[in-house]
C-alpha cells in the first residue's frame, strides 16, 4: 500500500459508493491536495479542510458560520483568577473512528488531549520528530513560550498551565493545530513501528472518517456513525480535487460536484444568473492594506501618511481590482470581528486637501516605491493593478511612485526589513476571530522587523493591546480595542484598503451550507435535497 493512495477500509465496504444509490453523497470540488492529514504539521487551508474540519474535533469549536466559540470536546472550562490556569471538563462517551487499521478500545479522554499538545510542545516526546516534526502554527501562536504544561487531572479533566495570562487562549484552542488525536492509536502505531501512519491514515472523533485518498485526484470520507453530536445528514463526502477555477465551474454546472470554492471573479455574474446555482456570499475575515515604513522619513510623520491615504481613491480600487467583491476598509480588523469600531471615521478621498497637507508638512517632490505582491490572495485579487491605481492617485498629488515586486518568498522576507524603501501591499486572514490576532500580530512592537510591515511601534497603542491581552473580561477588552483602533486611524501606519467578500457557488439541492468566516470549508450540518 502506497502512502499517497491509502485505503482505509476494505474495498467491499467502499463499494457502497457504487452500489448504494440511496446513500447521500456530497461532492465538493476542492482546489488542491492536502499536504497531509495531521493539521498540526501544516499551515494550508486546503489541508485543514481535508483534515481538521472533517476528521477531527478540538476542545472548543467555532460555531458553524461564525467566530463564536462553543464547547467541543470540552463541555465546559474555567480560568483561574490570575489567568494562568485553564481547566477543561471533557465530554464523555465520545467515540474515535474505527478504521481498517485501528479499532479503538476506549472512548476519548484526557490522555488524548495531553498527547495532542505534548507531541507538539515537548521535544522529548516520542512523537515529536515523527513526520518531520515541525509544528509551525503551534510555534506561530507562541505556544512554546506560553504553555508551561498540560496535565491530566483525571480521565475527564485536563489542566493547561500558562507562563503568562493570555486572553485569546480559548480562541487559540479552537484553531486547527489544536485538533485532538487518539493517544491509543499513536501508541499502537509506535509499537508496530509505523508511527507516521498516525499522520497519513487519520483517526479522529470528527463528523467524517477518511476512507481513501488518491493524491491530486480524490478524497473519500464516510459519515462517522457514532459522532458525538449526531451522525452527519450526508452519508458520504467526496473531495474531487480540481485545480483550475474555470474547470471547477464547469463541473458544478455539469452536476459533477455540488459545491466549489474560489470562483474566478470574472465568472461570478454568470454564476449568479445560473438557475441551478445558488451564490452564497459573506464578508471575509480579512484585511488588505498598504503599510508605510514608519521608520523612514518622511513616512515617520503621521501627517504625511494621512495625506497619502487621502489621495487614494478606494472606491476605484473596489470597482477595478475587487470587481465589486470587496468593501472599503477603515479599521485594521474586519467588521465581522468583535470590538470592530464602527465609530472610526475613515480618511476622506480628497486629493486637494492631501496636496495641501503634504506641503504643510514640508514635503515636495516626494518619490517612493509601492511593493506589489506577485500572487493573488484572498485579501487582494490583483496587487499589481492595485499598485497601479495607487500610483496614479499619488501622481495626481505630485508624488512619484515606482512599483516593485519580487518572487513571493522573497517578497515576504524583504518586506520585513526595517530599512525597507517604500510602502508594502499585503494583508491578513484571521486565525481565531480574536482582535489580538490582527492588532498584536500586525501592529504590535514585537512584530517590528517581522509581521509588523509598517515597522510601527507606538507606545499608547501598544499599551492598550498589551492590556487587552491579559484581560479576560470581554467588555473591558472590547473597550480597549475600540480605543486602539482610533489611535491607529489617527496615526495611519497603513492605508487600510479593503475587506474582500467571499463567494461560494453551490447547487440548488445543497441545504444549509454556511460560509466559514475563517475561510475553511465545513460539511457537517449540510444536507442534500432529495
Amino acid at each position: 500500500m502506497k502512502n499517497q493512495s491509502i485505503t482505509l477500509l476494505a474495498a467491499a465496504t467502499a463499494m457502497t459508493f457504487a452500489v448504494n444509490a440511496q446513500a447521500k453523497t456530497l461532492v465538493y470540488c476542492s482546489e488542491g491536495s492536502p499536504e497531509g492529514f495531521n493539521p498540526s504539521l501544516y499551515t494550508a487551508g486546503t489541508t485543514f479542510d481535508a483534515s481538521s474540519k472533517a476528521v477531527y474535533n478540538r476542545l472548543v469549536e467555532f460555531e458553524r458560520g461564525s467566530t463564536t466559540i462553543v464547547p467541543g470536546l470540552a463541555e465546559s472550562w474555567s480560568v483561574s483568577d490570575d489567568g494562568l490556569e485553564y481547566t477543561f471538563n471533557l465530554r464523555q462517551g465520545v467515540k474515535f473512528h474505527t478504521t481498517a487499521g485501528f479499532t479503538p478500545s476506549r472512548d476519548f479522554n484526557a490522555d488524548d488531549v495531553v498527547f495532542s499538545f505534548k507531541r507538539q510542545g515537548d521535544e522529548n516526546h516520542p512523537y515529536h520528530q515523527v513526520s518531520g516534526g515541525s509544528y509551525e502554527y503551534f510555534n506561530g501562536m507562541s505556544m512554546p513560550d506560553l504553555l508551561k504544561d498540560v496535565v491530566k487531572v483525571d480521565d475527564y479533566t485536563v489542566k493547561f498551565m500558562l507562563n503568562r495570562p493570555e486572553a485569546p487562549m480559548i480562541a487559540n484552542l479552537g484553531m486547527d493545530f489544536a485538533s485532538i488525536m487518539s493517544a491509543e492509536y499513536a501508541d499502537k502505531m509506535m509499537e508496530a513501528g509505523t508511527p507516521e501512519k498516525v499522520d497519513l491514515e487519520p483517526v479522529g472523533t470528527g463528523p467524517f472518517q477518511l476512507v481513501a485518498y488518491q493524491k491530486d485526484a480524490v478524497i473519500r470520507y464516510k459519515a462517522h456513525p457514532d459522532y458525538w453530536a449526531g451522525k452527519a445528514a450526508i452519508d458520504d463526502l467526496v473531495f474531487a480535487i480540481t485545480i483550475d477555477a474555470s474547470v471547477r465551474y464547469q463541473k458544478l454546472k455539469a452536476g459533477e460536484c455540488h459545491i466549489m470554492p474560489y470562483p474566478n471573479p470574472a465568472d461570478i455574474e454568470t454564476m449568479k444568473a445560473d438557475a441551478d446555482i445558488k451564490m452564497l456570499e459573506q464578508e471575509g475575515l480579512n484585511v488588505g492594506y498598504l503599510a508605510y515604513n514608519t521608520k523612514m522619513a518622511p513616512f515617520d510623520n503621521p501627517a504625511v501618511r494621512k495625506a497619502l491615504n487621502m489621495a487614494i481613491n478606494k472606491q476605484a480600487i473596489i470597482d477595478g481590482v475587487f470587481q465589486g467583491a470587496g468593501k472599503a476598509a477603515k479599521n485594521p480588523i474586519p467588521p465581522t470581528i468583535w470590538s470592530y469600531n464602527d465609530a472610526t471615521v475613515d480618511d476622506p478621498y480628497d486629493p486637494e486637501a492631501a496636496k495641501a497637507m503634504l506641503s504643510e508638512a514640508g514635503v515636495s517632490g516626494l518619490s517612493t516605491k509601492i511593493w506589489a505582491m506577485p500572487v493573488q490572495r484572498p485579501y487582494n485579487p490583483n496587487a499589481r493593478r492595485m499598485a497601479e491605481l495607487i500610483q496614479a492617485d499619488w501622481a495626481a498629488i505630485g508624488v512619484e511612485a515606482e512599483i516593485v515586486s519580487y518572487e513571493w518568498g522573497e517578497y515576504l522576507d524583504r518586506s520585513k526589513a526595517e530599512d525597507r524603501d517604500g510602502a508594502v501591499l499585503l494583508g491578513w486572514t484571521g486565525d481565531n476571530g480574536d482582535p489580538d490576532n490582527f492588532l498584536a500580530v500586525l501592529l504590535g512592537c514585537d512584530g517590528v522587523g517581522g509581521s509588523n510591515r509598517a515597522q510601527w511601534c507606538h507606545q499608547p497603542f501598544e499599551d492598550l493591546i498589551q492590556k487587552a491581552k491579559v484581560t479576560s473580561d470581554v467588555a473591558e477588552r472590547t473597550a480597549l480595542y475600540e480605543e486602539a483602533q482610533l489611535i491607529f486611524k489617527e496615526q495611519a501606519p497603513w492605508a487600510t484598503i479593503a475587506h474582500s467578500v467571499v463567494y461560494m457557488p453551490v447547487r440548488n439541492e445543497v441545504q444549509d451550507y454556511r460560509i466559514d468566516p475563517f475561510g475553511g470549508h465545513i460539511f457537517y450540518g449540510v444536507d442534500l435535497a432529495e
Binding site: 513526520s131 488518491q214 480535487i241 459533477e256 490572495r377 518572487e407 515576504l412
Partner: protein
C-alpha cells in the same frame, strides 16, 4: 551493433550527471526561500528559520548539499518532500502511471493521425487537403494549450455533455489501484461501466496533449516524404511500372520514416512538458501538476528528484529510439 549500444550508453552517464547538477543549481538560483513560502504571511522567527534550515540541511555549503543529494541518488534515496514530508520516490511513482497512461495515449493518437495526414499531404502536394491539413497543424502547434483545453471542455462537456469535465474516472467507481493505469485497473475491477468511464475521461486530455506532437509529426512526415519522393530510386521504381501504392507505401515511406522516428522520440520530452498544463486543467493526478506545485513552493527535494526521474525516462526512451533507428538504418550503426 554492440559497439553502437555501448557508445550510446556511455553518453547517458555524463547526461545524467549534467541533469543532477543543472536541477540542483537551477532550483537554488531561482529566488525564494522554501521556509518563507511555507510560513506565508504569518512568517517565522529568525531563530525558527535557522532551525528549519538546519533541519533540511540548507545551512550546509552547496558542495556538501550536492554531495548528500548525489550520494542519496546513488543509493536510490531521493529525499523527502519539504511540504508533505513524504519520500519523493513514493510520491513520484504514485503519480507517474497517470502521466504515462495519458502520454502513451497522446503519442499513439499523434502518430496514428499525424503520419497518414503527412503522407497524404505530401503525395497530394498543393491540394486543398495539403493546405488545410498543414494550416491546421500550424494552428495546433501555435495554440495556447490552456485556452484550447478550456474551449474543448466548454464545448464537449459543458454544452454538448458528451465527455466528463475532468478527472480519470467517474466518482461512482472506486477500487484499489493495481497497476496505476486506469484503463487496465478499471477492467480488472470487474465493475460494470468502469472501463467506459475511464475511456471517456481520457478523450479530451489525450486530444489536448497530442495536439502539439501531432502537428509536428504531420509536418515532419510531409517534408520527409516530399524529400524522398524526389529521390532517384523512387523515380526508378515508378519507371519500372510499380503501382503508386507500392512506391509510396514501401519505397518512399520506409526511408521517410527514419527522421520521423527521431521526431517522435523527441516529442516524448515535449509531451512531458505538455503534461504540466494539461494535467492542471483536467485535474489529472500525474507528475506534471505535482512538479509545478513543487517548483512554486521551492520544494527542493521534489523538484530535483522529479526532474531527475522524468529526465531518466526521456533518456531511456531516446536511447531506445536511437537503438531502433540503428536497427532500421544500417548506415548509422556502421558509421559509428
Amino acid at each position: 551493433m554492440l559497439r553502437f549500444v555501448l557508445h550510446r550508453l556511455g553518453l547517458v552517464i555524463p547526461t545524467f550527471v549534467g541533469i543532477t547538477l543543472l536541477t540542483f543549481a537551477m532550483i537554488r538560483l531561482v529566488p525564494g526561500d522554501p521556509i518563507e513560502l511555507l510560513a506565508g504571511e504569518r512568517g517565522v522567527s529568525p531563530e525558527r528559520h535557522a532551525e528549519l534550515r538546519a533541519q533540511y540541511g540548507f545551512d550546509q555549503p552547496l558542495l556538501v548539499q550536492y554531495w548528500d543529494y548525489i550520494s542519496g541518488v546513488l543509493t536510490g534515496d531521493l529525499g523527502k518532500s519539504i511540504v508533505t514530508k513524504q519520500p519523493v520516490l513514493d510520491e513520484f511513482f504514485t503519480l507517474f502511471p497517470a502521466t504515462l497512461e495519458l502520454s502513451t495515449c497522446a503519442i499513439i493518437l499523434a502518430v496514428l493521425i499525424g503520419v497518414p495526414v503527412g503522407i497524404i499531404a505530401a503525395v497530394r502536394r498543393g491540394s486543398i487537403f495539403d493546405h488545410v491539413s498543414m494550416g491546421t497543424a500550424l494552428t495546433g502547434f501555435s495554440m495556447p494549450i490552456f485556452w484550447w483545453a478550456l474551449l474543448l471542455i466548454i464545448l464537449f462537456s459543458g454544452i454538448l455533455g458528451w465527455t466528463p469535465v475532468s478527472g480519470r474516472i467517474s466518482l461512482l467507481y472506486f477500487f484499489e489501484p493495481v497497476t496505476g493505469f486506469m484503463l487496465i485497473d478499471s477492467l480488472l475491477s470487474g465493475q460494470e461501466g468502469a472501463f467506459t468511464s475511464a475511456l471517456r475521461h481520457l478523450i479530451l486530455p489525450t486530444v489536448v496533449l497530442s495536439t502539439v506532437p501531432l502537428a509536428v509529426i504531420a509536418r515532419q512526415t510531409r517534408s520527409a516524404m516530399l524529400e524522398v519522393l524526389g529521390e532517384d530510386y523512387v523515380r526508378t521504381a515508378r519507371a519500372k511500372g510499380l503501382p503508386p501504392r507500392r512506391v509510396i507505401g514501401v519505397h518512399a515511406l520506409r526511408n521517410a520514416l527514419i527522421p520521423v522516428i527521431t521526431v517522435i522520440g523527441l516529442q516524448v520530452g515535449v509531451l512531458f512538458s505538455g503534461t504540466v498544463l494539461t494535467e492542471s486543467i483536467f485535474s489529472w493526478p500525474g507528475i506534471g501538476k505535482w512538479l509545478l506545485d513543487s517548483i512554486a513552493r521551492r520544494d527542493y527535494p521534489s523538484v530535483q528528484g522529479g526532474i531527475l526521474l522524468i529526465a531518466t525516462t526521456v533518456i531511456v526512451i531516446n536511447l531506445l529510439v536511437d537503438l531502433v533507428y540503428g536497427l532500421v538504418n544500417p548506415r548509422i550503426r556502421h558509421h559509428r
